[in-house]
């Protein structure tokens, strides 16, 4: 039984490491500026596909012949208890669960692949948000403005 578990675990690790490498490669392309993302508001049609989820922003990018769609889906109905595996879970409040979804789409917006939940997705989302909101230039502008005010 233990041996069987170990074999299953190692094949699962090998499989998930392929997806992990792919997501990290996308993160690297994003951070080096070779993959450009844009923010879009989710369409009504898209929202109706996800009735139980709340989606704030959807990020899209073109990758070769395909489209990439990235978003965070907050499941407001399926709440997670604050204290897992504990007697305290009956006392604590609850928080909404969320998951980050990365999809590969065809040009007519047909879903081809939904990436599995790998632990590199939060890093990709953070890199995309950093690129789209142009944080670096905003911070530089703030510093320049502060210097100008001080000089006056």
């Amino acid at each position: 039984m233990a041996q069987e578990n170990k074999e299953l675990s190692s094949s699962a690790t090998a499989e998930s490491s392929k997806w992990l490498s792919a997501v990290i490669a996308l993160t690297k392309l994003t951070q080096t500026g070779n993959l450009r993302w844009r923010r879009t508001t989710p369409s009504e049609a898209f929202r109706t596909l996800k009735p139980e989820g709340e989606i704030e922003s959807v990020y899209m990018a073109e990758f070769k012949e395909l489209l990439l769609r990235l978003y965070e889906e907050i499941d407001i109905k399926a709440y997670e208890p604050f204290f897992k595996d504990s007697v305290l879970k009956v006392l604590g409040g609850r928080r909404p669960s969320s998951r980050i979804v990365l999809e590969m789409l065809s040009h007519n917006m047909e879903n081809l692949i939904t990436f599995p939940q790998v632990n590199a997705l939060p890093g990709l989302l953070s890199a995309v948000k950093y690129q789209v909101s142009d944080v670096k230039n905003v911070l530089e502008d703030i510093v320049k403005e502060a210097d100008l005010i001080e000089a006056e």
Binding site: M1, A2, N5, K6, S9, A12, T13, S16, S17, L20, S21, I24, T27, K28, Q31, V118, N119, A120, P122, G123, S126, A127, Y130, Q131, V135, K136
Partner: protein, 181 residues
């Protein structure tokens, strides 16, 4: 057969002495198995108590690392700090995991040692250098530490990030397996 003949000889000589001899040997064997079992329980206990926190700590460091990579050239100092903190987590983890998991931990540690000062590096210093280091005339940073500037170094940091996340995944699966055991 030899063992049985030996036992018969023992009983012929003196029954009480024979019983006490056999009991002593049996006691020794049982103690040995109990010792192995206790060690295993201790390791499982340490794993279940400490490893989840260390694994989460490593994941947090991985998230910090990827955030620093958003602005690589200006965040090199931040990256160094993250690597130094990750090193502490990994060194602690190395003592608590089984042989299967220890190997990726070691690989990751060796990659991180290239970019941060460590006790391991100190131990590898030859005599005159180690003496000069102690009196402050020799700095490890100049001796073996690789500079982080350059595209290929950036790739190294991405590889460390990948290995940190892969290790976190391996530890999570290990915890699930132990729960089943």
């Amino acid at each position: 057969m030899d063992i049985i003949n030996w036992l018969i000889e023992l009983f012929k000589r003196d029954v009480f002495t024979a019983i006490s001899n056999v009991s002593a040997i049996a006691g020794l064997i049982i103690s040995f198995f109990v010792l192995i079992r206790v060690k295993r329980i201790e390791r499982n206990y340490t794993f279940r108590i400490r490893v989840p926190a260390l694994s989460q700590g490593l994941y947090d460091q991985a998230q910090r690392l990827i955030n620093h990579l958003n602005d690589y050239q200006n965040e090199i100092q931040g990256i160094r700090e993250v690597l130094a903190e990750s090193r502490v987590y990994l060194e602690s983890l190395q003592e608590k995991v089984n042989r299967d998991t220890r190997k990726p931990v070691k690989v990751l540690l060796n990659e991180i040692y290239r970019y941060s000062e460590s006790h391991e590096q100190l131990n590898h210093l030859s005599y005159p250098k180690s003496f000069l280091y102690r009196i402050g005339l020799y700095h490890l940073r100049h001796a073996g530490l690789e500079e982080l500037k350059g595209e290929n170094k950036r790739d190294d940091i991405y590889r460390i990030y990948l290995n940190l996340l892969a290790l976190k995944r391996k530890l999570d699966i290990g915890q699930e397996d132990r729960r089943l055991d």
